[in-house]
């Protein structure tokens, strides 16, 4: 997969990598709002395993950029506790693969708080996820589905620098717990236009990345770039692809999903995490509910395989969705 740099038209804008856009978003929020602070492993002097908080400790001091012990349940618990006092913690997982170490704290403490006893928990849990970097089974995971199936959480997976910055700011300002998945493959591979002035991207709104008439690819994060590349190939043999970038996987933008289905009548759902119990299922159910009569063909799933993510490049490539898979499936569906 060759990541694509595609532009979001804006005035007074600069070219930023996906990683820089996130860094800048958090930095600006910390500058703007004294209640925002960061905690996590090696985020201080070191600036985080991927340098997302590089330089933060010099600017904001160790009080607001806290290096923690290796204890994910304590990190999430402490972030939650601080949020109850009106702070807005931004907690980093060094890799999102480790989020399972805080699973109970997230699912039973954080997510249920507002519904059960009416306390808002304005915190952000963020970190790198995703494959295509030969990270192996414990540094390539996409654990978002466990949290999509966890009422009370907002789950965000940006695909572009513009969205990454706008959504991290929105997440920090949101009064609810947000889990922010940063795709590590995109960190330094894509650049995009990011406006200089302050802006947010609304949580829960998808974005039409490419208009087309023949079929829709519903996807998000790194897969948006895979879909775009496939769409170019397909356009050569006259297949006109529409691409919807969900941007937020919980809550989902049902309207946008219904709209594109009603328009093209054929759908591929493309995601990186393993197929069974994955997001494509939820979207299939939504389409059945919102636009059943508009379907002219089966909803096609393209997803990671149902196993751990293997380490060796040929195996990882085989495991993960590729442009060629999308091209093949799109042709098949077109001629259904």
């Amino acid at each position: 997969m060759a990541a694509k740099n595609f532009e979001v038209l804006k005035t007074n804008s600069m070219q930023l990598t996906y990683l820089e856009a996130i860094r800048q978003g958090i930095w600006e929020e910390m500058d703007r709002d004294p209640t925002v602070f960061c905690l996590g492993e090696d985020i201080g002097i070191y600036g985080g395993a991927f340098k997302v908080t590089d330089g933060f400790i010099d600017r904001f001091g160790p009080e607001r950029v806290i290096d923690t012990p290796i204890a994910e349940s304590a990190i999430v618990g402490a972030a939650f506790g601080a949020s109850l006092t009106g702070m807005r913690p931004v907690a980093e997982f060094q890799f999102m693969d480790f989020i399972g170490c805080a699973f109970n704290q997230i699912s039973n403490m954080v997510a249920k708080t507002h519904y059960l006893w009416g306390a808002p928990a304005p915190l952000v849990l963020r970190g790198p996820s995703g494959g295509y970097v030969h990270g192996g089974p414990f540094h390539s995971q996409n654990p978002e589905m466990w949290f999509v199936h966890n009422p009370g959480l907002k789950v965000i997976c940006p695909a572009t620098p513009y969205d990454a910055k706008g959504l991290i700011k929105a997440a920090i300002r949101d009064n609810n717990p947000c889990i922010f998945f940063e795709h590590k493959y995109l960190y330094r591979r894509i650049k995009g236009e990011v406006p200089e002035e302050d802006y947010v991207v609304p949580i829960g709104k998808a974005r039409l990345v490419r208009e087309g008439n023949d079929l829709s690819i519903i996807t998000y994060a790194a897969m948006v770039h895979t879909a775009l590349e496939a769409a170019e190939t397909l356009s050569k043999d006259g297949i006109d692809i529409e691409i919807l970038d969900l941007r937020t996987v919980s809550p989902l933008d049902r309207e946008a999903i219904a709209q594109t289905v009603k328009k093209t009548n054929k759908v591929i759902v493309l995601h990186e995490h393993s197929r069974t119990g994955g997001l494509a299922g939820e979207i299939a159910a939504i389409i059945n509910e919102e636009a059943f009569d508009d379907l002219d063909g089966p909803i096609v799933r393209i997803a990671g395989r149902d196993s751990a993510i293997p380490f060796s490049p040929p195996q990882e490539e085989h495991y993960l969705p590729q442009v060629s898979d999308v091209v093949r499936e799109a042709r098949r569906l077109k001629s259904y």
Binding site: A71, A74, G77, G81, G152
Partner: protein, 359 residues
């Protein structure tokens, strides 16, 4: 005999004693409600642990925080909740603090009483209370954040993570270990191999204390010392309160697995009887008559609370809907102790291209 407190005066001792009475009478009330079929689910008791719950909570200042465990229903009364609140929780009433959505002591109040709602999973509150203290400190205040954990619950890994986090960050966590010899049917020697749980404080590099959990004065003094350490910004304290769970795990549990002599031994150490004897016989701070009046006053209060609770309606089915998210300004988020003073370092924003884990 009860040890004289280094801090408590007559008035305060009597106040704590009254809370202990309220605690016990409220639980007797809950038991009756259960027998009358008015309770949804089971009932949990703090019988034999009233001194531990009430005297420790009493050691907090107004601005401090706490989170109760299931046997700390007395602490809720000390912190200003009504008996009716807990009763309505058990009966799943519409006017309960959670409006029927949760039961027992599973509720909280971040506005006035600074209470974090517990969840059933044991230990998770400990890092949370550490985080509360962290949030306050960022706002310029060293507060105490008190919670309790059982001799069983402290076996959870999150307990360790939470105490260690507070120790490293020097946060005002005050952890009272309710060392009551049982975890459901499991005796404490099957939870840990060390003799006293307080010894675990050594491994955290924090002070640990052991108190007689049936002696309100000892519990208060140790907790107050810990609270003051917290206020001075000197970090967390672990207090092991030795006592006995005097009923089964919950009302369904006859505790047949507990050797009878064990109950008999501890019955003699009933925290309320001991404190009563101390106040009436030893200190003569209460005459028999005043004591009798106090007891019947408490009973009248509980009876009144019971009325309120019983008369609250059940929630409507539709009340199950909504509130999953904080939206449309249902809450305004603001720092509780004032806006943090930020000191801006020199560093400006610069792009980074430093080496990272995966390229």
């Amino acid at each position: 005999p009860i040890r004289d407190s280094r801090y408590l005066d007559k008035k305060q001792c009597i106040e704590i004693y009254r809370y202990m009475l309220l605690n016990r009478k409220m639980e007797i009330g809950l038991e009756n409600l259960y027998k009358q079929g008015k309770v949804v689910g089971g009932v949990y008791f703090g019988l034999g642990q009233e001194a531990c719950s009430c005297a420790s909570a009493y050691a907090l200042d107004q601005d401090d925080w706490f989170a109760p465990m299931i046997r700390n229903q007395g602490a809720l009364l000390v912190r200003g909740f009504r008996a009716a609140d807990t009763m309505m929780q058990y009966m799943a009433k519409a006017d309960s603090p959670t409006k029927g959505r949760d039961g027992t002591s599973h509720f909280g109040d971040i506005e006035k009483r600074n209470m974090v709602s517990p969840i059933s999973m044991l230990g998770d509150l400990i890092p949370v209370l550490s985080g509360v203290a962290l949030g306050a400190r960022l706002q310029g205040r060293n507060i105490a954040a008190l919670t309790w954990i059982g001799d069983g619950g402290q076996s959870t890994g999150v307990t360790y993570e939470g105490i260690n986090f507070a120790a490293v960050q020097k946060l005002g966590l005050v952890l009272v270990v309710e060392s009551n010899l049982w975890a459901y049917s499991t005796p404490s020697e099957m939870q840990y191999r060390v003799r006293d749980l307080a010894e675990r404080s050594i491994g955290y590099g924090i002070p640990g204390a052991i108190v007689d959990g049936t002696d309100a004065c000892q519990v208060y003094d140790a907790t107050r010392d810990a609270v003051e350490r917290a206020h001075r910004g000197e970090g967390p304290t672990m207090i092991e309160a030795k006592m006995m769970r005097m009923k089964g795990h919950a009302i369904h549990d006859a505790a047949a697995y507990v050797p009878k002599p064990m109950f008999e031994f501890w019955k003699k150490r009933d925290p309320i009887a001991r404190f009563e004897n101390y106040l009436v016989k030893e200190k003569k701070w209460l005459t028999a008559k005043e004591n009798a009046e106090l007891i019947s006053e408490v009973e009248r209060v509980i009876e009144a609370e019971r009325e309120i609770a019983v008369n609250s309606p059940m929630p409507t089915p539709e009340s199950a809907e909504g509130g999953v998210f904080c939206e449309d300004g249902c809450h305004e988020i603001k720092p509780k102790y004032g806006m943090p003073k930020v000191r801006k370092g020199t560093g400006g924003f610069k792009q980074t291209e430093a080496a990272a884990h995966f390229k």
